[in-house]
Symmetry: C2
Amino acid sequence: MAKTVVKYEDIEDVNQFPIGQGLTNDIYAKCLSILAEGDEKIDEIDPILEALHPADIADLIERLPLNKRENLLKHIPAEYLGETIAHLHEEAQEATLTSVINTVTPEGFIQAVDSLESDDRANLLRAFEELEDIKLKREESLLTYDRDTAGGIMQTELVAVSGEWEVGEVLEYMRENKEKLPETISRIFVVAHNNRLLGSISLSRMVRKSLDQKMEDIMRTDSVVVPHDMPKEDVAHLFEKYDMYSCAVVGEGNKLIGKITVDDILDVIIEEQEAGVMRAAGLEEGQDLFAPIIFTTKKRFPWLFINLLTAILASVVIGNFEAEIDQLVALAVLMPIVASMGGNAGTQSMTVAVRGLATKQLTWQNAGYLLWKELRVGGFNGLALALLLSVGTVLWYENPTLGYVIGAATIINHLLAAFAGIVIPVLLEKMGKDPAVSAGVLLTTVTDVGGFFSFLGLAALFLM
Amino acid sequence: MAKTVVKYEDIEDVNQFPIGQGLTNDIYAKCLSILAEGDEKIDEIDPILEALHPADIADLIERLPLNKRENLLKHIPAEYLGETIAHLHEEAQEATLTSVINTVTPEGFIQAVDSLESDDRANLLRAFEELEDIKLKREESLLTYDRDTAGGIMQTELVAVSGEWEVGEVLEYMRENKEKLPETISRIFVVAHNNRLLGSISLSRMVRKSLDQKMEDIMRTDSVVVPHDMPKEDVAHLFEKYDMYSCAVVGEGNKLIGKITVDDILDVIIEEQEAGVMRAAGLEEGQDLFAPIIFTTKKRFPWLFINLLTAILASVVIGNFEAEIDQLVALAVLMPIVASMGGNAGTQSMTVAVRGLATKQLTWQNAGYLLWKELRVGGFNGLALALLLSVGTVLWYENPTLGYVIGAATIINHLLAAFAGIVIPVLLEKMGKDPAVSAGVLLTTVTDVGGFFSFLGLAALFLM
C-alpha cells in the first residue's frame, strides 16, 4: 500500500538525508513547468506521480492554483487516488472530489475509496454526500456519527476477543486472519457477549505474557475509554495528557464500537490548531490557499465589517474632543501612540489567558491571581513606557503638561489593557464562547476607546 | 506505574463519563481550600494526591500560584514524583525542580528520576544542569544531543535484533526480558554487527508472520529513518505527513541510536504550536502562568518597546500634516478608521500566508499566484468598505470631497495591506526568519503609516 519513501540502503551519509522527502523543490518546479506547457507535455508527469508518496501528491495538489489541478488529477495512478484524496485538507478535498467526478469513473472511484481505512472512507463519503450530482452507497453505520466527535474519528477495524481466550489463541487468530484484520494493531480489546467492553491490553504487553494465560487475567480494566459523542478535542486532550497510544470508543451500554489511535489525534490537534489561528483573524474560508476569489472575499467581509464598526466607535470618542484637538493639534499626532501601545500590551495578557484556558491551567478559581499578576506587570511596563514617552513629548513639544498627560494616559491604558486582556477571555469562556475567536476584537476596541478617551479626556481637564 | 484513571466497571452510563478525569473542578477547589488553610490541614491533601494520576498532579501544580506550590510538593508520593515533574511544561519544570531540592533528599530524587524513560530522564537532567547548587551524575550519552533535535527527543530503550533471528526467537526474547525492555514496543529493529540499521518491522505485522520466518526476510527497508541532528519540528512534519507511529534515529554510519514514537511527536507539536502563538505576541516568558512578576515584566518589555517605536513612526507621519488637521479637525477623527481597517485586512492575508508557509503549501514559486489573488480579494473588500465609509462620511460631515478622499484612501490601504500581508512573511521566510514572530509588527507598521499617509496626503491634495 504505502510507497517507498526512503530506502535505508540509499543513505550513505546521514547528513544528506532528504527532509520533506518526496516532493522536493526540484520535483515541484518540474511539475509546475510541465503543467504550464499544457496538454502536449502532460504525459511527462506520469513517472513523477508514480514515484511520489500519496501524501506528496496531495501536497502537490494543494500547492497548485485551481485551474492547474484538474489536469493533474487525471494523471494520478488509480491505486493511489483514494489515499491521495484522504491526505488533502478538508476544503481542498471537497473541491478536488468535484473535479474527480469529471475525470474518473464512479466504479474506479468507489474502488479507490474502498481501499481506505474506515475513518478516511467515512470522511470521503461524507464529503460526497454534499455533492448532489453523485450517488454512492453510504455506510450508514459510520456516517451516523458526527464528524467532530469520537465516533467521527474512530476506526471500526479492531481486534476484539473473548476473555476466555489464551494469549496463544489470540496470536493464532491474528496470524490466520491477517487479511481481514487492520494493518496496524496496538491494542487487543476483550469483550463479553453483546460486545460489551470488559478490558484491553496493549499488543506489546500481551506478546510478553505466557501463551497459556487467559486474556481476562492479563487485561487491564483501568485504561481510558471514551463515549462515541465526546467532542474530538476532548479526546485529543486525554491522549495528550495521559500519553495514550489508543483507546476504545463505546456506545450505549458500554458496547465497543471502535478505536481511536494517536495518529488520528495528531490530525485533530493540527487541524484544531490551524482552525484556531485562522478564526482569530476572522478567516472562515477554510484552508485551501487557492479557493475562488469571490468565495474568499465574501467569507472575509463580515469580520472586516465588525472591525469597521469598532473603528467607528473609537472615532466617535475622538469626535467628542474635536474642540480640544482644534485647539492643540499635537493631540491628534500623539493619540494613536497611546491607543496602539495599550493594544499591544493587552494582546500579551490576552494571549497568556487564552492559552491558559485552552490548557485548562487557567480556571474560574485562579483567574483572580492571574488578573492581579497581570495588573502589576501591565502597571510596571506602562510606567516604564510612560516615562520614555513623557520625556520625548516634553522635549519635542516643549509642553510639560502635555508630557504628564500622555504619561498618565499610557499608564491608565496599560492597566485597562491588562484587565481587559484577562477578563474578556475568561468571561467568554464562562459564556461558552471560544475566546480565541472574538477576544482580540473586543480587546482592541477597549484599548482604542480607552486610549483615546483617557488621553483626550485628561488633555481636556488639564490643558484647556 | 500508571495509576487508575477510570475503571470500566464504574461506567454505568457512557454519558456520565468524566472528561478531564482525575482533576475535576471539585477536587481542584478542595485542594485550593486545603492549601489556603496553611500547615494545619495540609495532611488532608495526601489521600487526594494518592488518588490522582501524575499528569493530574502536574496540572494541579501549574494551576497554583508560585507561593502555594512548595507546600504541595512535599506531599507528592515519592513514587510519582519523577513522573509528575516529567509531565510539567518546561518552565514550570525548572521552577519546580528548584523547590524540590529543598524538600526531597537527592537520593530520593535520583531514584524518582531513574524510574523514567530515557527521554524524560534526559530532559530532567538537562534542567538540573542549569541549577548550580546540585551535583548529579550525568548521562553523557543522552545529554550530548541537542534538546531540539531528533537525538534530544528520542528514547534509547528499544528492541533491536539480528536479521538471522526467527520470529519465534524474537517473541521468546521479548517474553524473557520483559523487565529489561521498554514498556511499549511498537517496532522491532533489525541491525547488523556494529549496530548498523538494516530494517525494521512493526510488532503488529511481525506477530502475524509464521514463527519460523527470519527477520531479514520480513523486515521492511523502506520506512523513514531520521538522523540524530534533524530538527524536531522536521521530524514532527514527517510523522504528520506519512502517518507514522515510530521511526528509528541513526547516528554516524547509519548506526541505530534510538527511536522516536508518535507520542513524543504529539508533545513536540503542541509545544511548537503554543510557542508560536506566544512568540507572535512577543511573549518569551515561557509557559508558566504564574512566573514571577519581575521576570515576566522584563521579558515583555522589549516587544512593547519595538511597538512604541513603530507607533512613533506612524505619529511622525501624522505630524507632517499638522497644518491640514488644524484646518479640518474631522481628519483627526477619521484617520484611525482607515489605518485600523487596513491592519485587519492585512492580518487576514498575512495569516493565510504564514499558515501556507508552515504547511509548505506556499512556496517561493507559487507566491505570485497568491499575491495576485489576495490583491483582488483586498481590492473588492476595500471597495465595499470604502463605499460604506464614504456614504457615512458624506452624510455626517456634509462634505462630498471628504467622502471621496476617505474612500480612495481605504481602497489604497487595502491593496497595500494585501501586498504587505503576503510579501512580508514570504520575504522573512526567504531570509530564514520565522514569519510567525515578526510579520505582524511589520505589517501593522505598513498599514498604519500607509493609512495615515494616504488619507492625510489625499486630503492635503484635494481638500486644502
